[in-house]
Amino acid sequence: MITNNFKKILMLIFSSTAPVRDQPTLPTTNLPKLVGLDGIEYQIVNETGWHSNMTGWFNIMNHLAKASSNYNLYLKVGTGTATPTENDYELQTVNTDVSCDTVIVGNSANYTKTYTATFSNPTNSDITVTEIGLYANIMYNGRNEEYMDVLLDRTVLTTPITIPAGESKAITYELSF
């Protein structure tokens, strides 16, 4: 389920104040607050200039990293089973035993972005993944150039994925309109 954070970010596409032919630009007032992984609201601050353009935000949808880094998406897995809500701001129970080794971004039919991440289990025990989160690291404060991590989507798996001890598995996340 996509989160309210993601909905607010997508809605910014419809909020450009730039004139017809100019580079799309965020408004400077009435910008939304996003909820960070700590559950605290962070006010988006726009500042006229290079960092303020809104397009950089959307370009991140084409950039996937193994872990949090500026202007990138990334995936985390967990073991929570609570039903997702649009108010979710973090996985219920993040699993830190598995590590993300490789990532691939692609496109598929019907206007779908695909995000594939390979997670390995270096422990001596099997790990059963029940929830997956898609995150973004974005600059929320253009004035001070401050970044934050936001949960864009949380999915609880209908069929959990077991990563056996010492093995790895690829997980593909699809996003379409």
Binding site: V20, D22, P24, N59
Partner: protein, 183 residues
């Protein structure tokens, strides 16, 4: 129902290849204008000038926040009404039966809680007969900028909704219609 046009636009927007700036190189899509013709939007890679070169898509995005009362104004979104009843599909590129008897006098847009885009338009029935509206379309007027020819404004259907409950405009009556888009 959101059309393939809008889906392609949204998909192209999130497909930018640049890390922080505006990359037009991967922004490409074939949209269908209101005449049914396919129109190619192809970004160009021009280094630092990409912001300028990408302006067809820039204008396209900017238009979502600029309302007009009718078609033809470059870089604007506008609403039309009609009398068609055929079920909406994502392949629609125009209203089934556009009604030109009632006219749009006022148009504005805003957001609701930063989660919903709200387009409000006021239509007037200036005829002496009642008009029953059964379909509403949200359109964008975008440019396929050409270096030699300049801006070439074209109209594109972004959403077509067939009303569960038709709206009747009495002769001489004015009514406001609110269009909401959310994810």
């Amino acid at each position: 129902m959101i059309t393939n046009n809008l889906k392609k636009i949204m998909f192209s927007i999130i497909a930018g290849s640049s890390a922080t700036g505006f990359s037009s190189s991967s922004l490409s899509a074939t949209l269908v204008d209101t005449s049914g013709a396919g129109v190619n939007y192809v970004g160009e890679t021009m280094g630092n000038a990409s912001m300028y070169r990408a302006r067809p898509f820039g204008a396209l995005i900017n238009s979502f926040n600029h309302m007009a009362t009718n078609s033809g104004a470059l870089g604007t979104t506008f609403v039309k009404v009609g009398t068609g009843t055929t079920e909406a599909t994502e392949s629609d590129y125009s209203l089934e039966v556009e009604n030109t008897d009632i006219t749009c006098a006022v148009a504005s847009c805003g957001t609701s809680d930063n989660l919903t885009k709200v387009y409000t338009v006021t239509f007037s029935n200036t005829t002496e007969n009642d008009v029953v509206i059964t379909e509403i379309g949200l359109f964008g007027c975008f440019s396929t900028f050409d270096n030699d020819m300049g801006d070439i404004p074209l109209n594109f259907l972004l959403d077509r909704t067939v009303l569960d409950t038709p709206i009747t405009f009495r002769a001489g009556e004015t009514k406001a219609i609110t269009y909401e888009i959310s994810f």
